[in-house]
Symmetry: C2
């Protein structure tokens, strides 16, 4: 074998975590899955590779530049760049076999060949939930989705967030009322900058679009934030009766906001925000963004909305839906950078058994017994000095070590060492197991994220 | 928008499941993860895309033909074709940060551009576990890994299997004793066919390799199956003292077999099988294969072994390990084809709430309450006829429906319908929840696989 070694590098833009970080990531991912399942969502797992003709049915310009596309044999293939297009394909393909409303979640890796830079990923997890109706879908679903997001974030310990909600019908109707529909895309792009550049500069830019000063004021007043939801509805009520679409949007938004409260979400965690529009063309009703109150600079960590046609590129069937997406890799990266996940329980196992004798039969039996009790157990197999073996447990953050020697085998008890406190004493196996379980349950009940 | 639709097809060779099948798959996957974690294995998640130079360090011929490789910008990239090479890269790259023995599992998709045919996949899950030592690794680990496999298969309900165990040192030593080392690769390839073509034909083929008739007999006698492990060791003992490697192999195999018993694995589920060699060159000690007793034609569903050098292409560091891999997609495909997973609990939720009134506030509160109790709950949101709404629950296999109408709201009770028995009665919410939980716990405790 040659002695020339190949450098074991990982491609840039790929998140590859060390064990402790990986365990934190897994815990966040499991929390998402647990809540998704509680709400009756089905896990879905579509291929990473799809036919380019299918995946790029709808794509254009920017998307095409960023994709990973290649040919093999007769196949022109593309790695999925989101989970929405594969969902559309799946639902169109299997519509006859599915029951609607079809509620699915998918947590999977997607690929975008973006320019690599800190905090930008080329392979990253998205966690999507969508509810797809057949021809129609009640607006109650638009309220259930942010309620799930609330459940997820609070379970994680991340309670200082705001789900911002708007309705595209309101925006479309509003610009119709002002006879500015033809400019609405440009207007939305401009007003989106209001938090960065301020109201005066936005008005100046709007005037460049040949919009009357008076209308510019109306627009910036309309999208300006309100101190609470009831104030927002007061403002919305002022334009009622002038435009059908607008009125419908306001009515939908009212239902959504009222229903979210019924789901038990505290008012501090959701807010009507008439400045939210979402870039994507295909949202047609409710739209959501979610921000950390203490880190608005991050932008939205969880966005989505209501769309009328999920799969119009594949089928004539009218499939409206509502969904939301969490950029899980990016969210994890941000939380880690801010040291918000430092206190998570990241031991690979709950206890390590350290034999002080040659005979392994008692040790092996003990490991089997502890595992049957649900205790994550590892046997220290490599011998060596006691100190280095305890160091191993310490480095991995294993909270307990069990010693078994002649004494222990004779008495049938074991010696349990709490690695945190250093306390060490003999116990019956069941009593030791109880202590371990109590400790671990405490760790599991603790929130993973700890805002500082 | 154009009316020409794109056919929503999925590429051939990709497993894409309908909801019920997906739920079965997820349950099997979770069982694997649960047991891996109980044994103190860390989850690892390496990128699907790696630099071609890294991934193909060791590959040649067949592998290169089957891979998905492409360039984007300055990067020459390949989709991983197994989880072992990425593990080697990871361990070599991060050796300074890891604690050894390093115990990791990875369940992930891998890619091979094989010719598409029934039961062959181009994108499929592998579920790998490996224990990597730094310079050395106790043979006790070689026993722990098949014990985990036993735990996994029995938890799933698949108890009619045999883990076949051999040791490459025994085979290498044996062929040295016969002075046939230079022909050992050819011999192993030939004797591998013994179950298909029979002993006589194997001997005939061996003679073509210019091996004396007497040696051919010795070889076929040696690899012939024995009725139990003690008989196998009697046969192994006959050659002891002639070759150091052989003796070491026998001693390792004895330790492994004895330790597996200590882990509580019944003797019917593991067996010394001297015909097992494993194709890969890099196994150097213990080797495993696992077969269904009633379906030997499937071949091994779980294979692996001990290797001396995990990462010699990337580092001089001596990293011996032992591991095993389950071809999860293929296993699932086989179990499904045989209708062995038909009775799994595959409801997307445990209960559907069916409102018979307009006002949703009570319904929403009830859904939140049930979910807090851990009951997977869905609200029927779309209205329509009672019959079609119950059909929806039936098609999805949802076991309970709760009706809420004026009566129920007035009394504070709900009407619970058991969809299986058709029984329907009014209960307090807590009593209804209890019934649902009892039913679901029963379903969860049942094994997923039911051999017929």
């Amino acid at each position: 074998m040659s002695n020339e070694k190949i450098v074991p590098k990982t491609l840039s833009g790929m998140m590859e975590l060390l064990p402790k970080e990986q365990l934190k990531f897994e815990q966040i991912k499991s929390t998402l899955e647990e809540v998704y399942r509680l709400y009756g969502f089905l896990p879905l797992d579509t291929p990473v590779l799809e036919a380019s003709s299918v995946l790029l049915a709808k794509a254009g310009g920017e998307t095409e530049k960023q994709i990973y596309r290649f040919a093999k044999g007769d196949n022109d293939m593309t790695m999925r760049f989101d989970l929405t297009v594969p969902l559309a394909k799946y639902v169109a393909k299997n519509a006859g076999e599915l029951s609607f409303p079809f509620r699915r979640y998918q947590i999977g890796k997607v690929y975008r060949g973006e320019r690599a830079q800190k905090g930008r990923f080329r392979e990253f997890y998205q966690a999507d939930i969508d509810i797809i109706g057949d021809g129609k879908l009640s607006v109650l679903n638009d309220a259930e989705i942010p309620s799930m997001i609330y459940d997820i974030f609070t379970r994680l310990g991340l309670d200082d967030f705001t789900i911002r909600i708007n309705n595209r019908k309101i925006l479309n109707g509003f610009y119709e009322i002002l006879s500015l529909s033809d400019k609405s895309q440009d207007i939305m792009r401009t007003v989106d900058k209001i938090e960065k550049i301020g109201k005066e500069k936005v008005i100046a830019e709007l005037q460049l679009l040949e919009i009357e000063k008076e209308d510019c004021e109306k627009i910036t007043d309309f999208i300006a934030s309100t101190s609470n939801n009831s104030e927002a509805f007061d403002k919305l009520d002022m334009y009622l009766g002038k435009n059908e679409q607008y009125d419908l949007g306001v009515s939908e938004l009212k239902t959504v906001i009222e229903s979210i409260a019924m789901f038990g979400v505290p008012e501090k965690n959701y807010r009507v925000d008439l400045s939210i529009a979402r870039g994507l063309d295909y949202y047609t009703g409710t739209v959501y963004e979610t921000t950390f109150n203490r880190h608005p600079e991050i932008g939205s960590i969880c966005s989505g909305g209501r769309y009328d046609e999920l799969a119009s590129f594949y089928t004539d069937r009218h499939l409206p839906g509502v969904g939301i997406s969490i950029g899980l890799t990016r969210l994890f990266y941000i939380l880690s950078e801010m040291n918000y996940i430092d206190e998570a329980y990241v031991a690979p196992c709950d206890v390590m058994i350290l034999p002080m004798i040659e005979d392994t039969s008692y040790i092996i039996g003990l490991s089997a017994k502890l595992r049957r009790m649900g205790i994550k157990t590892q046997i220290s197999t490599e011998g060596g000095k006691m100190k280095s073996r305890l160091n191993y447990a310490n480095r991995l953050g294993i909270p307990f070590v069990i010693f078994v020697g002649e004494d222990e085998i004779a008495s049938g008890n074991i010696t349990l060492k709490n690695m945190e406190s250093g306390a060490q004493a003999q116990f019956e196996v069941d009593k030791a197991a109880e202590q371990i379980i109590t400790y671990v349950n405490g760790k599991k009940a603790a929130k993973i994220i700890n805002l500082k």
